[in-house]
Amino acid sequence: MSIVIKAENLNFSYPETESTPKVDALKNISFEIEEGTFTAILGHNGSGKSTLAKILCMILESQTGSLTIMGKDVNSENITDEEIMDIRKEVGMVFQNPDNQIVATIVEEDVAFGCENLGIPSVEIRERVDNALKEVGMYEYREHPVAKLSGGQKQRVAIAGVIAMRRKCIIFDESTAMLDPIGRKDVLNIIKKLNREHNITVILITHYMNEASMADKILVMNEGRIVASDTPEKIFGDPQKMWDIGLDVPQTTEFLYKLNHYGYSFPITVFDPEAVAEIVSKEFSSVE
């Protein structure tokens, strides 16, 4: 598999202003993301997650270190404006607040907005918009006013806009945080489908540990650094470490971990409640 994003020793600071001191948001960040993978980024508020996301889709520019996106060194002095635009066409982003990223009044116009800016012929835009809306299950709403949709539906429209632009990599910056359980489930299912069926590289920034447990790899950030980078099994396999930096583990893991204090040796990184019940009942039914 090819590497789509490779970061080496990235640093980023927000400059000093009249009232605030300089903030080192990213400190020596290095990681690689392979094509078609699902990566979750965990970390508490202010740990640098969103700064990193903005650098990856080139809203912000890292100050030192090297960043290669789709094979192009974006920090190189020789990079042309066209090349920067090309990279921006590969990496899309869906933000947290659905109301902050809707630009048009009608669903299909909003989805088409990005494509129009790319100068795609209108016949093709029509086709892309229809397909994208079907993909997120919002096709029946194509002529509805966006303002009347629920938060989850708006977020699906925003995702459709990114799909229509055919991004190879999509960053979701806490895109489920403001949604209710149903909206969250819908959006997560779409994210999984994009990744598994369409081979889109997904980076999901989240506070929900059970969402992170679906990823191929988790990056844990704390105070501007990547403090761990591994599979969900390895990351959640050490709950104490997560608790120490103010994060959590899925309840399934917490349950098995705490049972192990009583002398059991359950594998603690099982994330499906039914599967947890299965292994626990095997142990306990033999007791009775």
Binding site: G46, A177, G246, Y262, E274, S281, E288
Partner: protein, 282 residues
């Protein structure tokens, strides 16, 4: 503690239009102590209900009683009710406006006529309960992190010493430590100031940790109201209305199917572990 009671309350949006929607349909309930959680998925009517509690929306039918008195008895006095029932809206950090944190917190009490030394005391005590350190009182609220801003907005409402504090999704968008800070602070405030608190949330895990009672709304009606254990034991009812039960509750339900019965009131991990060990360990 202050009590708030709804008697056969209904409210319909767009009454005279074909698009009319009854958001709250003949709801009766009484909340008079501790922390009560209000859950229900989007469109269940909980936001409408919450806005009726402090008189932002007037019910079409029924009465809302604060400490036994109808809040709409004299519509001219509804402003007083808004001081007594404090409402912290969703994402309140977007409503900060003053030059300093201190001024922002002081805005409410100032409008109630509090001034001088008393005002300073009020602001400091509110900042304390919301977990705001003294150093940031002189800062601009716009320099703060999201979690800090949220706490400033909360302090602004606490400063009005409401008899009833209503919070719409107070922990949304915060990380686990931030959620614990803000919800823990609200719990301490409720205990020490003897204030009745109502929290609207989607997070069953948070509700299970911090609430004494839970009200569940679906399709404009209250479908369950009881202690955490009474409500969470009805997980089939909850899932059928599109709500998510905590993962640990699902584990307990699956265990029961396999013949390991640790009770129907499982909603925190520690309790589940205790029950399982107590009942089934050799």
């Amino acid at each position: 503690m202050a009590s708030i009671e709804l008697k056969n309350v209904s409210y319909t949006y767009n009454k005279s239009l074909p698009s009319k929607i009854t958001a709250v349909d003949d709801v009766s309930l009484k909340i008079d102590s501790g922390i009560t959680g209000l859950i229900g998925h989007t469109g269940s009517g909980k936001s409408t209900l919450v806005q009726m509690l402090n008189g932002l929306i007037k019910p079409d039918q029924g009465e809302i009683l604060l400490n036994g008195n109808n809040i709409w008895a004299d519509p001219k006095k509804i402003r007083d009710i808004r001081f007594k029932v404090g409402l912290v809206m969703q994402y309140p950090e977007y409503q900060l406006f003053a030059d300093t944190v201190e001024d922002d917190i002081a805005f409410g009490p100032k409008n109630m006529g509090i001034e001088g030394e008393k005002l300073n005391e009020t602001v400091e005590s509110a900042a304390f309960f919301a977990g705001i350190s003294k150093e940031i009182l002189k800062k601009s609220p716009f320099e703060l992190s999201g979690g800090q801003k949220r706490r400033v907005a909360l302090a602004g409402i606490i400063a009005m010493s409401p008899e009833i504090l209503v919070l719409d999704e107070p922990a949304a968008g915060l990380d686990p430590a931030g959620r614990r800070d803000i919800l823990g602070g609200i719990k301490v405030f409720s205990k020490i100031k003897n204030t009745t608190v109502i929290i609207v949330s989607h997070s069953m895990e948070d509700m299970a940790m911090y609430c004494d009672d839970i009200i569940v709304m679906a399709k404009s009606k209250v479908i369950a109201y009881g202690t955490c254990s009474e409500v969470f034991s009805q997980h089939e009812l909850l899932t059928s209305t599109g709500l998510d039960v905590p993962q640990i509750t699902r584990i307990a339900a699956a265990l029961k199917k396999n013949g390991i019965d640790i009770g129907d009131d499982i909603y925190t991990v520690d309790y589940a572990v205790d029950k399982l060990i107590e009942k089934y360990k050799k």
